[in-house]
Amino acid sequence: MLRIGVFVCHCGTNIAGTVDVKAVAETLGKEPAVVFSTDYPYMCSEAGQNIIKDAIKEYQLEGVVVCSCSPRMHEATFRKAVAAAGLNPYMLEVANIREQCSWIHKDMAEGTAKAIVLGRTAVAKVQLNAPLTAGESPVVKRALVIGGGIAGIQTALDIAEAGYPVDIVEKEPTIGGKMTQIDKTFPTLDCSSCILTPKMVECAQNENITIYSYSEVEAVTGFVGNFSVKIRRKARFVDEDKCTGCGACTEKCPVKNAPDAYNLGLSNRHAAYIPFAQAIPNVAVLDKERCIKLTKGKCGLCSTVCSAGAIDYEQQDSFVEEKYGAIVAATGYNPINIDGYDEFAYSQSKDVVTSLEFERILKADGPTEGHLARLSDGKQPKTIVFVQCVGSRESGSAHGCGKEYCSKICCMYTAKHAMLCREKYPDTDVYVFYIDVRTPGKNYDEFYRRAVEQYGVHYIKGMVGKVAPQADGTLDVQASDLISNEQLHVKADMVVLAAAIEPDKSARPLATMLTASMDTNDFFTEAHAKLRPVESPTAGVFLSGVCQGPKDIPETVAQAGAAASKVIGLLAKDKLSCNPCVAHSNEMKCNGCSSCANVCPYGAITYEDKDFSRRKDGTMMRRVASVNEAVCQGCGACTVACPSGAMDLKGFATSQIMAEVDAICK
């Protein structure tokens, strides 16, 4: 029987408030194997750790149980403390008496009784722990950034700046993302393109950065430090190396009615196109759905005018396979589809637009060349109504597409839009209907106040109930003013809807490939909401930008840099210590049936013929399983599949789990 020490943490009053920690320490001290038991206000503090270290030496402890917060929080801390006292770090078990006990129970007697059972269970388990040694695996010094918007661009630039090669995979034909479509940025009103395009150019010119545009991640295998990624390079029917971006193909292309995604379908483009003037790479693409040559086999005009000979109608999707040490998800967002919001007449009137569409209208390279104009008749609107929270902060599913969360950016960009309208066209009446105006952030509230006080924007607290298109081309906006408690009618020429934002649709399949977890809204989950906000719980996978949660450009850039610094920290290591909790096979029990290898998701199990005879004549050859510890990730699927009980998992052995079951049921 191992000599066990038990250390019960008060966690201030977090545990001690609902668990009688002294009674827990005392009761566990009476367990047969326990030779030392104590309690302390903060076990994770240096003084607390010293108590553990000193007790290990003084009482020659062979196993340690800490009753404290979740092992997801401080298991690593206590392992280090145990190791510092000369004990194997895996001779430690943590009983979770905070998250899974004191915080959920209100009754002291009940909480104490449960804490004792949890502590006893950990004592029973640690009794069967074995010293484990972590192996090492090399780190591939290359990073992958998935998504080439401002988040991905900033992350890639920062990693490249530190001297590591980094690849950007972008599904669109150009990098740049949503920020390319935006006119001005709050709260400084500087031009979005002017601050973004230098960064895009820097990406193209930095020798550490490779851009795979018009590409998607197809498959991911491996683990932290050693991911293998297969990238699909979609056929653009233009040789990227030959194309000079002269635009001759676009000019001659006879197809002129393809909806222009850059303008959100508000204008048309050719089938041969470059997304916008500052595209990186500045290379044309043929729209395979609309190109006459690709759909009907006729035309071919573009190849005759291309002096570089870059057009290639036979081009197929190609694949790149590369190894990476770290992967950053920067997949961004989209406004939600608001077709379900019939009351706002979005699908009935061209003059009801989303905020991103309004952004295109304001921008010089947009459908109206930057002139504030109605899309129906090209006239300048005299009254504009902005509607906030369209699909944001919506409980229940009245429209089937609403989001419970706040999209965070809408209050500020609406203030910006309102301000820009009043600045350029002072005779315009601007109304903003809002639930709350939320403007935390440096210089943000001042910005909003300027919209109200200096620019005379009419902010009305209230909800818009209906937008009714009238025969004279105006829109009757029916709303309630919650402060005066009146029903209002505003005769508007244009209505702008601040649609909620949601994670890009590509995020969900990517999360599955990366085995990274997501929340119920399909935002990536961070490893710790407060302390590890740019890391995914999956080691080696990092998060940048809105794919983790709604945020504006400054926050995105800050988070992108944080993700990059985490990646750099990882790539700076030559070797990583592996998880030692891996499977191993008892050769004496194994009969070589292959059940384990069949369920192993990593192909970590191989078979070898071994001689089990005591003499050296090789007469007792048997086929037995052997686990590659560097490849095994320790899921334990093989342990259950094994019919002869030969396969077991270190750290989560069958005997250990059985002991836990017994201790709980006692």
């Binding site: 092992p71 129970h105 059972v117 977890s517 999956t538 369920v599 334990g636 017994d662 049921c665």
Partner: protein, 146 residues
């Protein structure tokens, strides 16, 4: 002697490290209450749960056993929860054969973000077990004398 003492079931919950255990932690962080009768055993993945562990729990006097894992498609090890689901389906039909009420075991998918779901599931499961009463069918009385 006290009579009519409230029946407090023994419930074992197997939770995978990546989703459900984190979900249980989140339930704690959010102070979402659920009965103290539920005790959690951490496993790396739901596929580590051998059906024998569940039989062992019943044998040792557990009144209910619940297994929680990542949602299908979200397994940290890609396919672990699919194996677990198949194994549990097999076990359920066997428990049926043994005469154990199938409501005493359950598989639930709880993600790391679903603290509220974890607490709600445990409340509901405990209520179900309380309704069923003590597990007498599989309990090995020899285990009691230990």
């Amino acid at each position: 002697m006290q009579v009519n003492q409230e029946f407090r079931p023994k419930i074992v919950a197997f939770c995978c490290n990546w989703c459900s255990y984190a979900g249980a932690d989140l339930a704690g962080t959010n102070r979402s209450n659920y009965p103290a009768d539920v005790k959690i055993i951490r496993v790396p993945c739901s596929c580590r749960v051998n059906p024998l562990f569940i039989l062992r729990a019943f044998q040792r006097g557990a009144d209910g056993v619940i297994m929680c894992g990542c949602h299908p498609g979200d397994c940290h090890y890609t396919t672990g929860n699919y194996y677990a689901r198949r194994r549990m389906t097999m076990l359920f039909s066997m428990l049926d054969y043994l005469g154990i009420e199938k409501e005493r075991t359950r598989v639930e998918w709880v993600s790391a973000a679903e603290g509220a779901k974890f607490a709600a599931t445990m409340n509901e499961f405990t209520a179900t077990i309380k309704g069923l009463g003590e597990n007498k069918r599989l309990e090995d009385l020899r285990c009691k004398t230990q």
